[in-house]
């Protein structure tokens, strides 16, 4: 591509400003002393205090975390298995149906996924609560995991696995010692994706949850349905802060591993010479 023109700089600046300004506004107004959105009445952290004292939010946050951790972990195991089947298992009966079931949830509107799962849970008389939300979240996020992992599986050299098998590894050992370390980055990002999707989901959780279990997005949704709420501004700021810190940590860590890898490669090249 060619060099930056004035137009490119302007469109980049506007695009990024559009993406970030609303969140910046949210963060700033979470420190507003006034309950009104637009009137700035000085700096205050009172909404954070009220948020912390509100036990319903804390309970909802705990439910959300529990559901997120359990469902993303199961989804990562199932999704990795599904990716392995799609990429390595060759032909088997019902393969087309299987790959269809992996890709369909990605494009299925959330309202339909939620509705269908709720009708199933009622049909088999399963009490709705944390368990049903976990089942629902695992089902759609395992498909995302399998897409992420299968693209990594498809791009790596199968002769490494064959070599491990030739040298006397059992298939499980070759998976654990050769394949898993190679696909680990994809498995980790699959887990992160599943975890984020679960923390984020409002629609499917609303269908799958019973009256006793409320997740954080459900709580936020019912609080903001009628308008802006300063406590939700404070909560949003905390959530944006956690994500920002996570991303910064993650990119620092990956940069460090990259530098270490380059160092090792250089050392290896020197040793060969």
């Amino acid at each position: 591509m060619r060099r930056m023109s004035g137009f490119n700089i302007v469109s980049l600046t506007f695009g990024l400003a559009f993406l970030y300004l609303p969140m910046v506004v949210l963060v700033i107004y979470s420190f507003n002393a006034s309950k009104l959105v637009t009137v700035w009445a000085g700096f205050s952290t009172q909404w954070y205090g009220e948020l912390i004292r509100d036990e319903a939010f804390l309970d909802a946050a705990l439910v959300t975390l529990k559901v997120g951790l359990i469902s993303s972990t199961i989804a990562t195991v199932l999704g990795t298995m599904a990716a392995w089947i799609l990429v390595r298992s060759g032909r088997f009966l019902g393969r087309t149906l299987f790959s269809g079931m992996i890709y369909a949830p990605l494009v299925m509107p959330e309202v339909i996924t939620g509705l269908s799962l709720l009708l199933l849970f009622i049909g088999i008389d399963l009490d709705r609560g944390i368990l049903t939300i976990v089942l629902a979240h695992t089902t759609f996020s395992m498909c995302y995991v399998s897409v992420v992992v299968s693209s990594r599986l498809a791009s790596f050299d199968t002769s490494l696995e064959e070599a491990a098998l030739d040298l006397g590894c059992t298939p499980w050992q070759s998976f654990r010692l050769v394949t898993l370390p190679i696909i680990a980055p994809a498995v980790i990002s699959g887990w992160l994706l599943a975890f984020t999707l679960s923390l984020d989901d409002l629609v499917i959780a609303s269908f799958a949850a019973g009256p006793s279990s409320t997740t954080l997005p459900m709580k936020i949704f019912s609080a903001v349905r009628l308008g802006v709420s300063p406590e939700i501004n404070a909560l949003s700021t905390i959530m944006i802060g956690i994500v920002a810190m996570g991303v910064i940590l993650f990119s620092l860590m990956s940069k460090r591993t990259m530098i270490r890898q380059q160092q090792e490669e250089r050392d290896a090249a020197r040793a060969e010479a």
Partner: protein
């Protein structure tokens, strides 16, 4: 044996929690609403043997679909969902393309940072990103305050609870899905092609329209589908930013189920929505297939 277990576990999981629930939706969409628990009729009673199963199937009918077709509300909801999705897709393209173009022409050492900046909002909560616009767009919100202060307008604009707010919400939340595929095709674009076009007498503008745009078509198409398909069934954006007169089918389905408790009609709404979505989904798959083949 081990391979069989490996295949069976995810297979059965998806059968039980994806395919079977969907078949239940189809079945209930053919049933009638009833004042019972669960609130629909007929119920399948396998203990009754073949006769019961036959009776069950004769009770199923397309009444709910006929009802959808006869009631104005549903037609309008489907059509306005399609319209809102289409207009917001075009708006997203209009904003997303220049951003992707700017990213691709940035210095190579800047590109990973720009990529991260575009992806980062995706990791923050969707709900919060939609909510953040409520304080900006409302009658006495930041945008109106700012515009009144600068003197651009003398009366506050009504944006919140209108279709315009829904467009803004969709463009804002789905913008990264548009930028990334377009950026991916623009980044691979061979700069010498543009030089050749200019050597052969093209102006910079016509080189852009005759070379850059056609070559980035796969990315544009992919981005448009990635925005259009989820936007049709959107629920959160119309219910937070839209007004009571903003009809979108995701919201109608939700209300039919939770407020009216009419399960058969809600299921029929879902089945029709999926039938509408199949066309863009198949087209999208075909586009992806073509890109993969072209890439090899």
């Amino acid at each position: 044996m081990r391979r069989l277990i490996l295949i069976l576990v995810p297979y059965l999981w998806l059968l039980a929690l994806f395919l079977v629930p969907f078949l239940i939706v189809v079945k209930i969409s053919l049933s009638d609403v009833a004042l019972a628990r669960p609130p629909y009729f007929p119920q399948l009673d396998l203990s009754g043997g073949w006769a019961a199963i036959r009776d069950f199937f004769t009770e199923l009918d397309f009444e709910n679909f006929a009802f959808l077709a006869s009631d104005d509300l549903y037609w309008k909801a489907y059509l306005s969902s399609l319209r809102i999705a289409l207009i917001s897709t075009l708006l997203t393209l209009l904003i997303g393309f220049p951003v992707a173009y700017g990213m691709a022409s940035a210095r190579p050492e800047w590109r990973p940072t720009l990529m991260t900046l575009v992806i980062l909002p995706f990791w923050t909560s969707f709900l919060i990103r939609v909510y953040s616009w409520m304080g900006i767009l409302s009658q006495n919100g930041l945008l109106n305050t700012f515009l009144l202060w600068t003197g651009v307008i003398s009366e506050p604009l009504t944006i919140m609870n209108t279709e315009i707010a829904v467009y803004i919400g969709i463009v804002y939340t789905y913008l990264p899905f548009m930028i990334l595929p377009i950026y991916a095709t623009l980044e691979k674009l061979d700069g010498s092609l543009l030089e050749a076009a200019e050597d052969l007498g093209c102006s910079r503008t016509s080189a852009f329209w005759l070379v850059t745009v056609p070559l980035s078509k796969p990315g544009i198409i992919a981005g448009c589908f990635l925005v259009f398909i989820p936007a049709i069934g959107e629920f959160v954006i119309p219910s937070l930013l839209g007004g009571s007169d903003t009809l979108m089918i995701g919201k109608v389905l939700w209300e039919e189920f939770f407020n009216n408790r009419d399960w058969p009609v809600a299921s029929a709404v879902a089945v029709v929505l999926l039938a509408i979505l199949i066309i863009p989904i198949v087209l999208f798959q075909r586009n992806e297939q073509k890109n993969r083949e072209a890439g090899q």
